[in-house]
Point group: C2
Chain length 295, copies 2
């Protein structure tokens, strides 16, 4: 107790964590690792020198690099926090310079295509996909914080080829950040997310777009809650929807079917049916309640 340095040393799990893309998620990972002394060193890759300097100033990384290969050199843990379509290529570069025993993962919102693409790369390291359910309409390392993952869920998508020990180490990684892990297949993950995350994004976007600008001063809390995620970055979401096109299309068609039932009920002035439909929605919403913390 009188030697805090030892206490801190005891907790070190990783020698060198490499964060590829130091934005909201990557930055929050680095801040937490450094705050808790979980890594002897944390470095980052980014395209923009100025933003890497900001990340250093905010305590998210100790050093920044403008190439993936340099950033990953000697790393025993590499996590790609990039737009989904950039992840496989970045990890393939990282595998060239990271330790042969390193664990590689990512935070991408889609998993099937990433797991397939990374699986096709010849590398000595183990890769297991991660998706922390901690997104936000905000972005950038300026919004990163040490508690982003507290009480959040992280879906891990190991395959039959994944090393069991590596999966456990990855669960330990997310647990040390405050999150709880669960395992799903990459395909099962993408199908589930098409309904719980990607469809809501599309719907929020449509709802915002359907509102005439002249009426926006009348938008109150209900409208604001329902459309909040529509502020997300279109270029990032385009990629997510591209990667998960078939499931999202299916989910949107299912949504359109229920919309059609609503239109029929309203046209027929069948308000008993309207009340039934409202109850069906309320029942599912009330199951979820406010279990997780809203942020």
């Amino acid at each position: 107790m009188s030697e805090p340095v030892r206490e801190s040393t005891r907790k070190v799990v990783w020698q060198r964590v490499c964060i590829l893309g130091v934005g909201l998620l990557g930055g929050s990972i680095g801040i937490r690792l450094l705050r808790d002394g979980l890594a002897a060193d944390v470095v980052g890759y980014g395209r923009n020198e100025f933003r890497l300097k900001t990340a250093i100033e905010l305590g998210a990384i100790r050093q920044g690099f403008l190439t993936v290969e340099e950033a990953a050199r000697g790393a025993d843990f590499v996590i790609a926090c990039l737009p989904v379509q950039e992840i496989p290529v970045a990890l393939s570069w990282a595998s060239k310079s990271a330790r042969r025993t390193a664990i590689l993962t990512d935070v991408g919102s889609t998993k099937a295509s990433i797991v397939k693409a990374v699986g096709a790369i010849k590398m000595s390291q183990v890769f297991v996909g991660s998706h922390p359910l901690a997104g936000s309409e905000r972005s950038g390392v300026e919004n990163a914080n040490d508690s982003l993952f507290d009480n959040k869920l992280v879906v891990l998508t190991p395959t039959s080829e994944s090393n069991p020990h590596a999966i456990e180490l990855l669960e330990g990684f997310w647990g040390s950040l405050g999150a709880t892990s669960l395992r799903m297949s990459p395909e099962g993950h993408d199908e589930a997310m098409s309904m719980t995350s990607h469809l809501p994004h599309v719907i929020a976007s449509i709802l915002a777009a359907a509102t005439p600008e002249r009426l926006t001063p009348l938008a109150a809390n209900g409208w604001k809650d329902s459309t909040r995620i529509a502020s997300g970055e279109p270029k990032l979401w385009r990629q997510i929807l591209e990667e998960n096109q078939s499931h999202v299309l299916h989910a949107l068609k299912n949504f359109a079917t229920i919309s059609g039932q609503w239109i029929d009920a309203l046209e027929a002035r069948d308000f008993d049916r309207v009340e039934q439909l409202l109850k069906a929605g309320k029942r599912i919403r009330d199951v979820v309640g406010n279990r997780h913390t809203s942020s």
Copy 2:
């Protein structure tokens, strides 16, 4: 300054405010009026004696009555905070016992049918419709609080027959509760609300209903924000949608048209178009930002 009783007396605006329906909105009005000494007395009407006692204990009213006529006796301000379809009848009863010079208003989420129905009642008092944009998926006097209306908008829907002095007094009433008033026609209000409030409610309900229950553990902040209002009381919302059927139907069909554009773009794998659609939604959402306080 040494006589706080006088200071409090100076602020009294109303002798007897009668709140018809002491739930979230009615209760919050009473708590604020009594907290700030804006009314010499505040009484309430309710159907349930137990809940009226709770309202008294929470400082929302001083006395409760089980009939509207008794509650409104001698009132110089009557505000109906009831389900929209009960408002006209309740105000017609209130007009029999309230002062001849009383101002009558309501908090209904639809206005055209209420203003029309109340306009057809023979009464000596002035009625001007109000709609405070301060709804919530919560309900009941237990959730009432003294700051519900702070920084909120209230739409007043006077008609060409409304007494200008009464409109100003009503603006003063809402101003004393912390809100800002604006004036719209009853029909213009209902059309606007079909897009900024009623459509979002329907969409949130569909989105919740479209989520398989087995996936609810994966619902994160995006899903929760987008569906929050779906927890609202189906019986209340049925009435709102019934009163505003034609505008809501029009808004929902417009939503379905944009959904169709999305389905076409996803089916064609036209992700440039997807990105355009995402940008259109983001543009409107970003206009609103987080101007009002989320609650």
